[in-house]
């Protein structure tokens, strides 16, 4: 059938050598998304990521609920990193309503946030392992993650979807004896993740597969707007915990891991180094935390903000996560916009995959620290 094309449109000529693969949404090597990959032999000539399969309208939902009711559903985009996803929203609402947070609550938030970062990275690492065909590296992080999940359960009462941060502090105080248990678990966890180097990060096959693949130069990383571990793996020392310290991060002593290579290996190693720094932060925060005191400011029922806008951002497990809140004086926000790191990192994927081999696709794709559900919101 040869239908007349409208003027200005032309059919794309397809080379017979080129094969189009639909990687996803039902494919073991994609998340909840599709990557349309065109390959010539073993080389990828074009790649078109197609997110949007798990769009849930979180931002629209936020316009119909008041500031407190928004908390449980706004953490849904990344349930493994739920505290960090909620963090910028809570900080923003506090600024809108003019609330001063107690000192102890700030420390509890930092501890919960760092524990959550580790939980997220462990999940990410498990999937990275199975993407590379390393089944032990799938099982070990998935198992060791349980220590931290148990800690979060002790702290908040829920295993993954905590809804622990509220405007004005945190929902509940820490349970008795939490400091000792947390210290013990975190020390063991740190010992455990150091063992991953022997089986995974120093593995010669892993290094030969991921070194010098999907190289993102420093300029490109900045130009494409990537954040988090992707940006830091390309040699840019940028971490919001250092650059725009929120809560008590400016009182804590930690370093930000940076690597210069910009390849898949560096991008996969940075989160692992992040976890060690997180353990350091948790230990220090447990020391410096006030031993008693309030953890929550009592709010008015159904609080209203003024005619104001606020933008807050934090460093999540994937990069800088921003939340833009517009208030028009009603109990519900006029608009809540999440600026998510996953989507910004995904933009780099077509640039990185062009000219790569098909075998590098899983490692490059997942090294971008991308979470499909978060990108769709």
């Amino acid at each position: 059938m040869t239908a007349e094309l409208p003027p200005g449109l032309a059919l794309q000529k397809v080379d017979e050598r080129i094969m189009t693969l639909n990687v996803g949404p039902q494919h073991p090597g994609s998340g909840h998304m599709r990557i349309v990959v065109q390959i010539d032999g073993d080389y990828i000539v074009a790649c078109d990521p197609d997110p949007g399969y798990v769009h849930r309208g979180e931002e629209k939902m936020a316009e119909y609920r008041n500031y407190i009711l928004n908390i449980p559903h706004l953490e849904r985009p990344v349930i493994h990193d739920s505290c960090n996803v909620l963090y910028p929203y809570v900080l923003g609402v506090e600024e809108l309503l003019g609330i001063e947070v107690p000192e102890r609550a700030k420390y509890v938030r930092v501890i919960a946030s760092e524990l959550n970062r580790c939980i997220y990275i462990m999940y990410w690492l498990a999937i990275y392992g199975i993407f590379l065909g390393h089944s032990t590296m799938f099982m070990w992080p998935a198992g060791d993650r349980e220590f931290l999940i148990d800690l979060m359960e002790k702290m908040t009462g829920a295993r993954v979807t905590h809804a622990h941060f509220v405007p004005g502090g945190v929902r509940n105080d820490l349970p008795p004896n939490f400091e000792d248990v947390c210290l013990r678990q975190v020390n063991y966890f740190e010992k455990r993740i150091k063992e991953y180097a022997a089986v995974f990060y120093d593995n010669p096959i892993l290094i030969s597969r991921t070194k010098d693949t999907g190289v993102l130069s420093r300029q490109d990383a900045i130009r494409l707007g990537t954040t988090g571990s992707v940006l830091r793996a390309s040699g840019v020392d940028y971490d919001l915990r250092k650059k725009e310290p929120y809560d008590v991060y400016d009182e804590l002593d930690f370093q930000v891991p940076v690597m210069k290579e910009g390849d898949s290996y560096a991008r996969s190693r940075i989160p692992w180094l992040d976890m060690m720094e997180s353990c350091r932060i948790i230990r220090e925060a447990l020391q410096k935390m006030p031993k008693s005191g309030s953890v929550r400011v009592k709010l008015k029922p159904n609080p209203k903000g003024g005619n104001d806008t606020v933008y807050k951002r934090v460093e999540s497990g994937r990069g800088s996560l921003g939340c833009y809140i517009v208030s028009d004086g009603k109990p519900e926000p006029y608009r809540v916009k999440l600026s998510v790191p996953s989507f910004r990192n995904l933009i780099a994927l077509p640039y990185l995959l062009k000219g790569e081999k098909l075998g590098n696709m899983p490692s490059v794709y997942w090294s971008l620290n991308y979470w499909p559900v978060e990108a769709d919101r």
């Binding site: 693969l21 590379l132 597969r209 081999k357």
Partner: protein, 432 residues
């Protein structure tokens, strides 16, 4: 309290057991025994120990079971027994089934899991049977545009080729299905079948992911066949024969791995690649190409390919044992058959039972089989181990490994063998 398994009740268990026994007896009496009798009356019966085997004689076995033994012994000398049961398919399939179970449990222990646990009550020992039943009961889906005859035939040919490979393996002195003079050459010929079957299956599915997987498997197997064959030449040079039984017999004093370690290492690595095991499981790389050339296979077709894969695994491990680890040779650890049973019979209080036809197996055969199985299980363990430790390698790294490093090492191995031969240290048949 387990949620998955219902609460165990002895009465119900006994009731179900009795039900089963009742149906088995009913079917046997109504269908089984008449059918067997009809067959026995029609066919011509053999003469064993000067006694014509008749159905009525068979009934006397119920009164005197020891009279079965001569029949069993006569059956053991037939080719059917060798092909179906002992050195052939049955033995290999048993070892392969054990391999699957051990692999799953071992990998689980390595990865902080428990592995199969519920099926069969004891550590999930019946898991494989459950998996097999599931695969049999599943619907077989054929892609609409597939080339159906080839697509149907490929898994069957795959199992047949793997079984043919098993036929060349000598398990104990004299116990081999096909004792051919050019046995090693036959093995190479059978190994050459696998890439063809793979690409036939992959291409006939008429689907993208199987096609890429099939092409990868073709690359991998063809490029690793050359170092595979070259690495075995050292053994052939030193023994001067291609007969696998003679190669195994030539290692009675020492295994060839002592003199040809490089050849053994090259053969082991190429073996992993031919078997598509991790780290060389590119044809089935799930994160890139779903399940590679197995993507479109469903139900028992997939089960057949798995059976063939594990038969192949056993055969390669056994080949490694025969060529480098001395096959059945080993210190005699099986005790000899007690002589007084042969002369006096078994004395149990007042009863003395003289059983003709004992011993069923010679001491050498039992000892050889024991050593062979021990060594094979050891080699299989080392084949399974990389799965817990290594990620998947990339296709270009794999091919460069095969075409440059392994072929170079295989030539080094051949020069070592030639050096040993010309220096007069070793020659055909062992130390000179």
């Amino acid at each position: 309290m387990s949620v998955i398994a219902p609460k165990f009740k002895l009465s119900e268990f006994i009731k179900s057991l009795l039900d089963n026994v009742f149906w088995v007896i009913l079917l046997m009496v109504l269908i089984g025994i008449p059918a067997v009798m009809m067959v026995l009356f029609v066919i011509e019966m053999p003469v064993i120990n000067g006694e014509l085997l008749t159905p009525f004689l068979a009934l006397t076995w119920l009164a005197d079971p020891s009279r079965v033994l001569p029949i069993v012994q006569a059956f053991m000398t037939t080719d059917i027994f060798r092909v179906m049961a002992f050195p052939g398919f049955g033995f290999a399939a048993l070892l392969a089934a054990g391999t699957i179970f051990v692999e799953r449990k071992m990998l689980a222990k390595l990865q902080l899991r428990v592995g199969p646990f519920y099926c069969g009550k004891i550590e999930g020992i019946l898991q494989l049977m459950g998996d097999g039943l599931k695969l049999i009961s599943k619907e077989i889906i054929i892609p609409a545009k597939a080339d159906k005859p080839i697509f149907w035939a490929a898994p069957v040919i795959f199992v047949a080729a793997a079984a043919a490979f098993v036929a060349f393996i000598p398990v104990a002195p004299g116990w081999v299905v096909a004792d051919v003079d050019l046995g090693l050459l036959g093995v190479f010929a059978v190994i050459g079948f696998f890439p063809i079957i793979t690409i036939l299956s992959a291409w006939s599915a008429n689907s993208k992911f199987p096609f890429i997987g099939g092409i990868r498997a073709l690359f991998q197997m063809v490029s690793f066949e050359i170092p595979l064959i070259l690495s075995l030449l050292g053994v052939v040079i030193l023994t001067g024969t291609l007969n696998l039984s003679e190669i195994a017999a030539s290692q009675s004093s020492f295994p060839w791995i002592i003199f040809l370690p490089i050849g053994a290492i090259v053969f082991f690595i190429t073996m992993l690649a031919e078997l598509e095991r991790i780290p060389f499981d590119l044809p089935e790389a799930e994160s890139e190409i779903v399940a590679g050339w197995l993507t479109e296979l469903s139900g028992m077709m997939y089960g057949l390919v798995q059976l063939g894969t594990y038969l192949k695994l056993y055969a390669f491990a056994a080949l490694f044992v025969v060529l480098f680890l001395g096959g059945w040779n080993g210190p005699m650890i099986v005790p000899p058959f007690p002589a007084e049973i042969l002369t006096d019979g078994i004395v149990m209080g007042p009863i003395t039972a003289k059983i003709p036809g004992l011993p069923l197996f010679t001491q050498e055969m039992l000892n050889g089989t024991l050593w062979f199985v021990l060594k094979t299980v050891g080699v299989i363990f080392f084949i399974l181990l990389p799965r817990g430790v290594f990620p998947r390698i990339r296709i270009d790294l794999l091919l460069s490994l095969g075409w440059t490093k392994l072929i170079g090492l295989a030539f080094v191995n051949i020069f070592i063998a030639l050096g040993l031969l010309y220096a007069g240290v070793l020659g055909p048949g062992g130390l000179q």
